[in-house]
Symmetry: C2
Subunit: 202 residues, 2 copies
Amino acid sequence: MLQALSHLNSELVEEIETNSKTQEIEKDTEILREGQYVKVIPIVLNGLIKVFTRHGDKELLLYYIKPNESCIMSFSASLKNEPSKVFAITEENTTALLLPADQVSKWIKQFPDINTLFFQQYNLRYGELLDTIHHVLFDKMDKRLYDYLKEKVKLTGKNPLKISHRQIANELGTAREVISRVMKKLETEEKLKQHMHSIELL
Amino acid sequence: MLQALSHLNSELVEEIETNSKTQEIEKDTEILREGQYVKVIPIVLNGLIKVFTRHGDKELLLYYIKPNESCIMSFSASLKNEPSKVFAITEENTTALLLPADQVSKWIKQFPDINTLFFQQYNLRYGELLDTIHHVLFDKMDKRLYDYLKEKVKLTGKNPLKISHRQIANELGTAREVISRVMKKLETEEKLKQHMHSIELL
DNA sequence: TGTAAGTGGTGACCATAGTCACTGCACAAA
DNA sequence: TTTGTGCAGTGACTATGGTCACCACTTACA
């Protein structure tokens, strides 16, 4: 049985399993475009989905959807039949369980248990957005970059990371040159602090 | 009957009315402190609640809870018995309906209809946080200040606004001097544009 | 093998806004 | 009247980071 659903009513789990389909999604697939209407709620089984926002040609990473989490904001969007305000893209090859939005509305009434799970997911995203705000407003680039790299290594399990300065700049909403500069600064600083040697690029 | 609840099951409305109490809260009352555990979910009947976050001695306005809205994040916090990550303060004299958190958990299972309302509230807050992120990261101070003033006039219905530069600076997460400067710049600019004359301070 | 595209490094410059220090002003309490 | 307190205005300085121009290096592929 699916671990993500392990604490739910078995009747509901059966419903979910018969009405949803598991899908393999290749790395770097855009699965949600801003302004798009949402018809499925994905639950990540494994892999990693990146959620971000855009403004002109600047982007900003909002958070990742990790295994056993769902992209709950899809659901809100689907509820009001509103277009999405964010983008989502697979950061790794990802397997996801796709719940049809209309079914989910039904299940919610039929199996109120599922709500606890949904509320938790909402809460999680709210907290992550709040963290993002703190980073953007209160932290300098050096701290933002350092935290970003640490998080990335932790999430992907990859070290060295395979990512270009340009990509990093996008995700942090800044320019490539800035990343170059700050990266260099971090490297020299961190040699002293004995931290940085555990994170490498390329 | 309460307008906020008008589209709910009448049995539920009765439950709510007998188990919740309406409370008058005076302007400038701190109703939620960061790190506090949450036991009631307020629904604003009239007045205005300001929700903000803090980092050191810097603050940032996140959003307002307007009449017929609820502070849904309280609920998430109460669910996991987690401390709150934000602050809330009444911006005006406010009347709120206080739903006991433990009762709400029960109602959710008993009256699944209430979920639609909750999900909508979540969605609203998520969207507002996203807007806040956009303002902070993508907009310059002049635009941020202008939008802030417009919004404030709209919400409070007061013009001229009674608010000090210091307060504005707090809510925008910047310094008083910056507000002074930008305010002056806006005033001269806006005389030309024929916009600003509709918003005044003091 | 030569060319194009992508990547990173770097110096110079600029704009925004955060900080500091000080002024003047209004109002209220002593 | 004097004094204290809070608010606003302002010039000077600084720091951060965004922008521009350009170079060097690698890789792919035509």
